[in-house]
Amino acid sequence: MNPDASTIAAGAPIEVDLSPIAEGQDIKVFWRGKPIYISHRTKKQIDEARAVNVASLPDPQTDEARVKSGHEQWLVVIGICTHLGCIPIAHEGNYDGFFCPCHGSQYDSSGRIRQGPAPLNLPVPPYQFVSDTKIQIG
C-alpha cells in the first residue's frame, strides 16, 4: 500500500529558474503533488521576519534557519497548512505572509505560524541553489 515505483520516480527532484520572479512576487510550483511557494521577499519582509522574538513563537525557529545563507531574499516553503492540509494564500493575513482560508491560520513572511489552530511552521522542502538564479527542489 506504500507508493508504487512510478509514483516515487515522478517525485524526483525538479529545477526551478528564479530569474523571472521580481522582488515582492512569488510563484507556486508543484513537486510530488504538493504546492511549493517560492517567494522573492522584499527588504521589509526580511526585516519583519528577523525582528520577531523567536522565543515568543508557537513553533520557535529563526528566519536564518529557514532560508539559505547568502540567499536571504528567497523563501521556499511547502504551501500546505500544517493544521489540516489546505493551501494558504500568499500575501494575505496580518503578518505579510500566508493566510489559510480554511480555519484562519496565519503565517509570517518566513512561513512561521503566528496565529490560528495550526501547530507548526510551514515546512521547508529539501532544496539547494544550483546557481544564483536556479534551485533544485528535492
Partner: protein, 690 residues
C-alpha cells in the same frame, strides 16, 4: 429466544434440503415464529428501515460501479456521464447519494432510540457495541464514497480528513502516506478509496448479521424496558412485526423519494460540481452533514492532536455506555431526570451539527467549546451521576400490564423544552449577528423560474433564446464541454428536431484525427460531438483572461450557490427551493455597476459586481442591451438575456430535470396509495394485539 425450530417444510424438495442444511428452519425461527414484544412503538421499525437502506445502497452502488471510472482525470466526467447518458443514471445516482444521507438519518434515529430506552444495558452490551462498529464502518464508507465524484469538496474533504491521522505522533505520517499511496491526495488515493468503498458495505452487511444474531439471542428491548415473561407479552414476528416494519419502511420511502426527486442537491455541496483542483482550496471546507457534530468537536479544541482524539473519542465513548450508565431501570419513560437530559443531549448534538457548518470564528468557537463540554459531560458526568441519585418511577410488572394500563400520563418535559427553545433562540440571534457581519456580498434576489417546484418544466422558447445568447456572447470565453449537440434534440430540452440539431452542429468546426497520415484535421460537427471549448486547455484560458480562467458553464448553475442561513435552510426543505444557483447566476450577470461604492477598492483589470463574493470580478460586463436580437420579438434587454441564458444553463446542468420531476410525481402517487394500504393491513393484523 429463538429456540430450535420444529418447522418442517411441506414441499418434499425443501424437506430434502432442510435435512442437510436447516436453513428454512433458521429463517422460520428468526423471522416468522420469533417472539417480539407486543408493546414496540414505531421507533423500533428503524432496524428494518436500515436493512432496507443498506440493500438499496449496495444495489444502486453495484450498478453505478459498472459505469464509473476510478481515475483522477476521468472520475468527475464519468459521474456526469452517468447522470446524463446512462439510462436512468440520474435516478441511480440520486438514489445512492441521497441514500447515504437517509441511511445516516435512520441510523441516528436508531441510536437515539437505543439511548432513550436503554437498549444498551445488560444483556444487550455486545449488541450495542456491534452497532457502534457498524456506525464507524458506515462513516468510513460514507467518507470514501463522497471522495469518488472527485469534485472540489471530495478532494479537499479527503485532504482534511486524511490529514487528521498525521496528528498522531511518530506513526501519523506513515499512516497518511499509506492512505494516499503517494505524496498527496491523488490518483492512487482515489483508486484505493474506490476499492474500499466497494468492500466495506459487505463488511457492514457481515456485522449486521452478527448484530441481528446478538439481537435474537438477547431479545428485543421495548419501550417499557421489562423483559417479556409470558406468551402474553409477545406476538409472533410474522405477520405482526413484518407488516409494521413494512409500513415504517414505506413511510420512510416517502421522505427518501422527496429528496431523490425534488431536492437531490439539498444535502450536497455546490462546490462538488467543480472538478477537483489541487491548486485551489475552497474558501470553506465542510464535510457531509452527518459528520458535522464531530467536525465541530474537532475544531473546538485548539490543539491539533487533542482535537483529533476528542473527535474519535466522541464516537468510541459510545462503546463504554453500558458501563457508564449503571442505572437498573432501562427505559427513560420511567426515569424523569434521564428523560430531560436525553432531550438536552439531542439538542446539543443538533447544535453541534449546526456549528460544524459555520466558519470557526467569534461566537461559534465559544459555543462549540461549551457544547463539546456538554457532549462529553452527558456521558462522563450526567449518566453516572443519575444512576446514583435518580429515583425512577416504578416499572410495570410485565409488558402486558403496561399495554393494558396504557401508562400514558404524558407529562411534557418542561425543563428540556425550555432549554431547547432557548438554544434555538440564541442560534437564531447568532445567525442574524453573523448575517450582519458578513454584509459584503449581497444576497441575490429570488426569481420566478418556470422550472422550480414539483411540476416545473423548462420554457422551450427561453431555452432557445438562452442558447442563442450563449452562442453569440458567452461561448467566446466559456466552454460547455459536457453538452453534446444531440442533447439539443432530446426530450425535456430546447425542443429542436434531430435535423435542426445536426444543422446546428455542422456550423461548428470540430478537431478530429489522427488521419491515415497521422495528422489532426478539422471537420464539421456531428450531433454526437460536444460543444467545442474556446481554449485548448486551462492554462491557455488563464493566460488569455488576465489570470482568471473562465469556468466551464455546463454545470455552473449547480456549482454556484450562496448561503441561505438559518432559518431559511429549514423552510427550503418544505418549499423545495433549489434555485440558489440560477438566482446567483442571473443576479451576477446584472450585478455590474459603474460606480464603485465607497470603501471598496477594485484592483486593476477587475470590475465591480454586487453579487460576486469579494465584489472584484475579472469578467468584464458581458451583456448589454440590444446585443442579441431574438427572432420571437422578446425584449433585447440585459434582464431578458440574463434570465434566458440562466434557464438554458439550468438545462445544461441537469438535462433530465423534467423526467426527474415527472417520475417523482408518479412515484409519490404510488407510494401514498401503498402507505395507505400498508396502514390498514397493519391495523387489521394488530387488531387483536392492542
Amino acid at each position: 429466544m429463538s429456540g430450535p425450530s420444529d418447522y418442517q417444510p411441506s414441499n418434499p424438495a425443501l424437506q430434502w434440503i432442510e435435512r442437510r442444511l436447516p436453513i428454512f428452519g433458521l429463517m422460520h425461527s428468526s423471522f416468522v415464529a420469533y417472539p417480539t414484544p407486543r408493546n414496540l412503538n414505531y421507533w423500533w421499525t428503524f432496524g428494518a428501515i436500515l436493512s432496507f437502506m443498506l440493500g438499496m445502497q449496495i444495489l444502486t452502488g453495484v450498478i453505478l460501479a459498472m459505469h464509473y471510472t476510478p481515475n483522477a482525470d476521468l472520475a468527475f466526467k464519468s459521474v456526469e456521464l452517468i447522470v446524463r447518458d446512462v439510462n436512468y443514471g440520474w435516478l441511480l445516482r440520486n438514489m445512492h447519494a441521497v441514500g447515504a444521507s437517509m441511511f445516516f438519518v435512520a441510523v441516528y434515529v436508531h441510536m437515539f432510540r437505543g439511548l432513550y430506552y436503554g437498549s444498551y444495558k445488560e444483556p444487550r452490551e455486545v449488541l450495542w457495541i456491534l452497532g457502534v462498529i457498524i456506525y464507524l464502518l458506515m462513516m468510513a464508507t460514507g467518507f470514501m464514497g463522497y471522495v469518488l465524484p472527485w469534485g472540489q469538496m471530495s478532494f479537499w474533504g479527503a485532504t482534511v480528513i486524511t490529514n487528521l491521522f498525521s496528528a498522531f505522533p511518530s506513526v501519523g505520517e506513515s499512516i497518511v502516506t499509506l492512505l494516499w499511496g503517494g505524496y498527496s491526495v491523488g490518483n492512487p488515493t482515489l483508486n484505493r478509496f474506490f476499492s474500499l468503498h466497494y468492500l466495506l458495505p459487505f463488511v457492514i452487511a457481515g456485522v449486521v448479521v452478527l448484530h441481528v444474531w446478538a439481537l435474537h439471542v438477547a431479545g428485543q428491548n421495548n419501550p417499557d424496558g421489562v423483559e417479556p415473561k409470558t406468551e402474553k407479552d409477545t406476538v409472533p414476528f410474522t405477520p405482526h412485526a413484518t407488516i409494521k416494519d413494512m409500513f415504517g419502511v414505506a413511510c420512510f420511502m416517502l421522505l427518501y423519494a422527496w429528496f431523490i426527486f425534488y431536492m437531490p442537491n439539498y444535502l450536497g455541496d455546490a462546490d462538488n460540481y467543480i472538478p477537483a483542483n489541487p491548486g485551489v482550496t475552497p474558501p470553506h471546507i465542510v464535510p457531509e452533514w452527518y459528520y458535522l457534530p464531530f467536525y465541530a468537536i474537532l475544531r473546538s479544541i485548539p490543539d491539533k492532536l487533542a482535537g483529533v482524539i476528542a473527535m474519535f473519542g466522541a464516537i468510541i465513548i459510545l462503546c463504554f455506555l453500558p458501563w457508564l450508565d449503571s442505572a437498573k431501570t432501562k427505559s427513560s419513560k420511567y426515569r424523569p431526570l434521564a428523560k430531560q437530559f436525553f432531550w438536552i443531549f439531542v439538542a446539543v448534538c443538533i447544535l453541534l451539527g449546526y456549528l460544524g457548518a459555520q466558519p470557526p470564528e467569534g461566537i461559534y468557537v465559544v459555543a462549540g467549546r461549551v457544547l463539546t463540554f456538554c457532549y462529553f459531560a452527558y456521558f462522563l458526568i450526567v449518566l453516572p451521576l443519575l444512576a446514583r441519585i435518580e429515583k425512577p418511577r416504578p416499572v410495570p410488572n410485565s409488558i402486558s400490564d403496561a399495554v393494558l394500563a396504557k401508562t400514558g400520563s404524558r407529562s411534557t418535559p418542561m425543563v428540556s423544552t425550555a432549554i431547547v427553545l432557548a438554544l434555538a433562540g440564541s442560534l437564531l440571534a447568532g445567525s442574524i449577528d453573523s448575517a450582519k457581519a458578513s454584509e459584503g456580498s449581497d444576497t441575490p434576489p429570488g426569481n420566478k423560474w418556470s422550472f422550480s417546484g414539483p411540476f416545473g418544466t423548462f420554457d422551450r422558447a427561453a431555452l432557445q433564446r438562452g442558447l442563442k445568447v450563449y452562442k453569440e456572447v458567452c461561448s467566446s470565453c466559456h466552454g460547455l464541454s459536457y453538452v453534446a449537440f444531440r442533447n439539443l434534440a432530446e426530450a425535456g430540452g430546447p425542443g429542436y428536431s434531430v435535423a435542426q440539431a445536426s444543422a446546428f452542429a455542422s456550423e461548428y468546426k470540430v478537431k478530429d484525427g489522427p488521419n491515415d497520415a497521422g495528422d489532426m484535421f478539422e471537420r464539421p460537427g456531428r450531433p454526437a460531438d460536444y460543444f467545442p471549448s474556446p481554449f485548448p486547455n486551462e492554462q491557455a484560458a488563464r493566460a488569455a483572461n488576465g489570470g482568471a480562467a473562465p469556468p466551464d458553464l455546463s454545470l455552473i448553475t449547480k456549482a454556484r450557490s450562496y448561503k441561505r442561513g438559518f432559518p431559511w435552510f429549514i423552510f427550503d426543505l418544505f418549499t423545495q427551493y433549489q434555485e440558489q444557483g440560477p438566482d446567483y447566476v442571473t443576479a451576477l450577470l446584472q450585478g455590474y455597476e459603474e460606480k464603485v461604492p465607497e470603501g471598496v477598492t477594485i484592483p486593476d483589470g477587475s470590475y465591480y459586481n454586487r453579487y460576486f463574493p469579494g465584489h472584484a470580478i475579472k469578467m468584464p460586463k458581458p451583456l448589454s442591451d440590444g446585443q442579441v436580437t431574438f427572432d420571437d420579438g422578446s425584449p433585447a434587454t440585459v434582464a431578458q438575456y440574463a434570465k434566458d441564458v440562466t434557464t438554458f444553463l439550468m438545462w445544461t446542468a441537469e438535462p433530465h430535470m423534467e423526467a426527474r420531476k415527472r417520475l417523482g410525481f408518479q412515484v409519490f402517487v404510488f407510494l401514498i396509495i401503498f402507505v395507505g394500504l400498508m396502514y390498514f393491513t397493519k391495523k387489521k393484523v394488530w387488531a387483536d394485539s392492542h
